[in-house]
Subunit: 122 residues, 2 copies
């Protein structure tokens, strides 16, 4: 049993993302998820278990049913990881330009020719 998968591995699975998507609107029982996603019940339960152990969802008991609802903490982790990259899709095109311009990340290897960028000149 490995319970320490990264949140990224968890949401890498399409069915799990689908389940999370369903739970955005409202909590759902296993059966409801099963029907909406047209997925075999054991599959649903299994994915829910993974999601639960990873902290993405939590469940409460209602008679024989289990109602699953979203727990946002885990997804916040993804959001946090994304943060440093955000500055890129605002204005980075120019910054990139500057980079290309001054990049001389030379390494302790002998290099004579530089200025060899720009263009797929074969």
């Amino acid at each position: 049993m490995k319970s320490v998968e990264s949140v990224f591995e968890i949401i890498a699975e399409p069915n799990r993302r689908a389940i999370l998507g369903l739970l955005v609107s409202a909590q759902q029982s296993v059966g409801e998820i099963e029907r909406q996603l047209r997925m075999p019940q054991p599959a649903v339960s299994k994915h829910l278990r993974v999601l639960r152990e990873a902290g993405f969802v939590e469940s409460t008991v209602d008679a024989q049913r289990r109602l699953y609802r979203l727990k946002p903490e885990a997804l916040q982790e993804v959001d946090a990881w994304l943060a440093p990259f955000r500055r890129f899709w605002s204005a980075h095109v120019d910054a990139l330009e500057r980079h290309l311009d001054r990049m001389d990340r030379s390494i302790p290897t002998k290099r004579k020719t530089r200025k060899r960028r720009q263009g797929p000149n074969r």
Copy 2:
């Protein structure tokens, strides 16, 4: 060759996330990534290939080196997917409260008929 992996599968790989992390600060050559991450060169190249084909990075040629830099579009996709969930980590506590209120988190070891629930579930 399958090139149509979801962006989520791409970033599920720890080494790839590490590479992306490196590229946030500046573009890097394969060798630089190799050294900083202490990862065998073929591994770096392979991951870079995956990242490139998925649109996470792009490369330019500099003599025998290849300089890789970030391409934010793919990560924006993740960001977009995350959007619907964002409202959860602002105000959702109240909804949660209501739920916790009408059920018992205790273990229903031996329980007789309880309220049959009036659920909003159809």
